[in-house]
């Protein structure tokens, strides 16, 4: 499959799912007479038609270059992306319990190690400086409320 036909099929599937979702939207007598389904129907039609258009256009194209997501060739990059996402999601889950300083420090250590491979001291400095400087800037200077977490009893401010 080429890049355009992949995009075309993606649009057709996404548009169809959205269309199906639209049929599940409850319609009440209250509210405006157009209702909550009209606009989504229009959107799904546009997406599906454009997807089909891409597929047809691609069939007519004589020079077709196969498309690859690069899962094998760029495996390291994809793994880094997934690991970054996982680190981000875990960061959100533990932020309130561990507190801003500890959670941010841990998140920064993990992503720095993923990106700046092998330079442990540099990464430690980045993580400490980033978490402390942002905490001081946002919690103390801009007065945003940030969770103290585990350090709640130790922090003097």
């Amino acid at each position: 499959m080429t890049k355009n036909s992949t995009t075309g099929w993606f649009a057709v599937v996404l548009g169809s799912l959205y269309l199906f979702g639209t049929t599940l939207v409850p319609v009440f007598d209250a509210g405006d007479q157009v209702g909550p389904r009209a606009f989504p129907y229009l959107v799904s039609a546009v997406v599906i038609l454009c997807g089909l258009g891409l597929i047809v256009q691609d069939r007519r194209n004589a020079k077709r270059v196969p498309f690859s997501w690069g899962f094998a060739a760029d495996r390291a990059i994809w793994l880094k992306i997934l690991a970054t996402m996982a680190a981000g999601i875990v960061y959100g889950l533990v932020l309130d319990d561990l507190g801003y300083l500890i959670a941010t420090f841990l998140f920064m250590i993990v992503v720095s190690e993923l990106i700046n491979v092998g330079r442990h001291v540099q990464n430690l400095v980045i993580a400490v400086v980033f978490s402390v400087v942002t905490f001081i800037s946002f919690a103390l200077i801009l007065k945003l409320s940030l969770p103290r977490g585990l350090l709640g009893g130790i922090l003097p401010f």
Binding site: G31, V34, F138
Partner: protein
């Protein structure tokens, strides 16, 4: 004229307060640095700096974000001149003659004229902004739902047709944006739509979360493949950052032509700095008596586009401030951040909060002078920042992105959303689906649907309301023209021997 001066005076009162001056300076400097780093443009700059604006009043927030925006325009060309790598797409043209100038030992002149041309572009752009905004805002106040819907349709169509790549992919991007915008409780009927049973989605998707994902985190993902690039910069060889009288004289014409051109391009929704700079370069080459010198270090080829670029960022503020429709990705992020602070840009802004609207316009006067003063004497130390490797910058951008997400709603669910948005953004880039139409549709989605439904309700379900109102009809015709123009352009490209669509991507 008197009213304009009065408004400008009001704006200056706001802009010249010590707090606002400080933020113009900080925003401009940070923007210059972010704009300078290869791969990171103004939209990323504004997105990662959103958290800074949380504790501010809306006026100061807008002033700071605008300073980041045009600061990035100042910075973008540094990397083009020194290492032949544009800081963002709108600085590509600066490579054409800026880098050859540096290779000839004229890096100091190139850096100086790019700062001066950026300043001239910014100042002329600001003056145009002063005269443009009030009439447009006054006209927009008269718009009913049908006009609003057609205007948004035109803005979206123009964004699609003016952005790079396939039109069909642009419309798909717009569709995805609308899909995301319709998630949550429908404001007009109360029906819950597309939440898939997830409670956190009932209030809808916070579009700032999606934008931080797309513009900060996705940008980091894109840079994962180019992390170990080292740039060879010899800061000592730059010499004096100044421009000779002869070179300056040669640059006056290009700057005076590039600025109004850039401004007008900026006003069009979707047509950003890239188009403005290429157009200005083409104009300069065609009016030059020695076109053969272009590409070999002609100072005119740097001065024109640099001024067009900055004037364009002023132009992009016209639809943002007067219509509430962002003219570029960066303006879209600014709009999102402002809405979070409780201000909705649009015609009413000039009536209800003239100090915000005119404050930001006047702050550009101050900001451009400051940036010229930063960029001339500090050119050499700033260029040294290019030596900071990507592998140190990228974790910091990730940190700012995720931290900014937390500050939005203090919700751990947003961390999932921002991660998913970033992954989706990376996949869309791989498929060459343009991001700006998606972002614009996501922001304007609620308003577009509402005006669509209100119009139909007024007209008892008849679609004819959209072409019976003259202004609405005018916007529909403009949308059609932009579509026909783009289709023609694409047809011509298709006929070329190489595979153009992949190339355009």
């Amino acid at each position: 004229m008197e009213a304009v001066l009065h408004n400008l005076g009001l704006g200056l009162e706001v802009a010249l307060t010590p707090t606002n001056m400080m933020w113009v300076f900080i925003g401009g400097l940070l923007g210059t640095i972010i704009g300078m780093l290869p791969g990171l443009g103004p939209a990323t700059g504004v997105a990662v700096l959103i958290p800074i604006t949380y504790g501010m009043n809306p006026g100061t927030a807008l002033i700071t974000m605008a300073a980041v925006y045009y600061g990035a325009m100042f910075g973008g060309s540094r990397a083009s001149i020194m290492i032949n790598t544009p800081g963002d797409a709108s600085a590509i043209v600066s490579c054409f003659d800026g880098y050859p100038m540096a290779k000839k030992g004229k890096a100091g002149s190139a850096l100086a004229i790019s700062a001066i041309a950026s300043f001239v572009g910014g100042m002329i752009g600001m003056v145009c902004l002063v005269f443009f905004t009030e009439p447009v805002a006054a006209m927009a106040l008269k718009f009913g739902p049908a006009e609003k819907f057609s205007l948004m349709l035109f803005a979206l169509t123009a964004t699609i047709t003016l952005s790079e790549g396939s039109i069909l992919k642009g419309f798909i991007a717009m569709g995805i944006g609308f899909m995301l915008a319709t998630i949550g409780i429908d404001g007009q009927s109360g029906a819950i739509r597309f939440t898939m049973g997830i409670e956190n989605l009932q209030d809808g998707i916070d579009f700032l979360v999606v934008m931080i994902g797309l513009y900060a985190v996705t940008e980091v993902f894109k840079n994962f493949s180019a992390m170990d690039v080292k740039y060879d910069i010899d800061a000592k060889s730059i010499g004096r950052v100044w421009v000779s009288w002869a070179d300056f004289k040669k640059s006056i014409g290009p700057m005076l032509r590039g600025s109004p051109l850039g401004f007008l391009v900026g006003v069009l929704p979707g047509a950003g700095g890239t188009i403005a700079t290429f157009l200005s370069y083409a104009v300069e080459k065609s009016v030059s008596k020695k076109p053969a010198e272009f590409g070999k270090g002609a100072i005119q080829g740097l001065a024109g586009p640099e001024s067009a670029n900055n004037a364009c960022s002023c132009g992009a503020l016209v639809p943002l401030l007067t219509l509430g429709i962002p003219g570029s990705g960066t303006a879209a992020v600014m709009l999102g951040a402002l809405m979070m602070l409780g201000v909705r840009p649009g015609p009413i802004l000039f009536e209800q909060h003239p100090e915000i609207a005119w404050g930001v316009i006047a702050s550009m006067l101050v900001g451009n002078i400051m940036l010229l003063l930063i960029n001339l004497p500090l050119a050499v130390p700033l260029v040294r920042l290019l030596k900071i490797p990507q592998r140190i910058m990228l974790p910091l951008i990730l940190g700012m992105g995720y931290m900014g997400t937390y500050f939005l709603n203090y919700s751990s669910f947003d961390f999932v959303l921002v991660s998913l948005a970033a992954l989706a953004g990376y996949m869309l880039v791989k498929l060459s689906i343009p991001i700006p139409p998606l972002v614009l549709a996501l922001i304007l989605g609620g308003m577009t649907e509402q005006s669509f439904r209100n119009s139909l309700t007024i007209a008892n379900g008849s679609l004819s309301i959209f072409w019976e109102q003259p202004i609405s009809l005018g916007f529909l015709i403009l949308a059609a023209i932009s579509l026909v123009w783009a289709l023609n352009k694409q047809k011509k490209l298709m006929k070329m021997p190489s595979e153009p669509e992949e190339e355009a991507d």
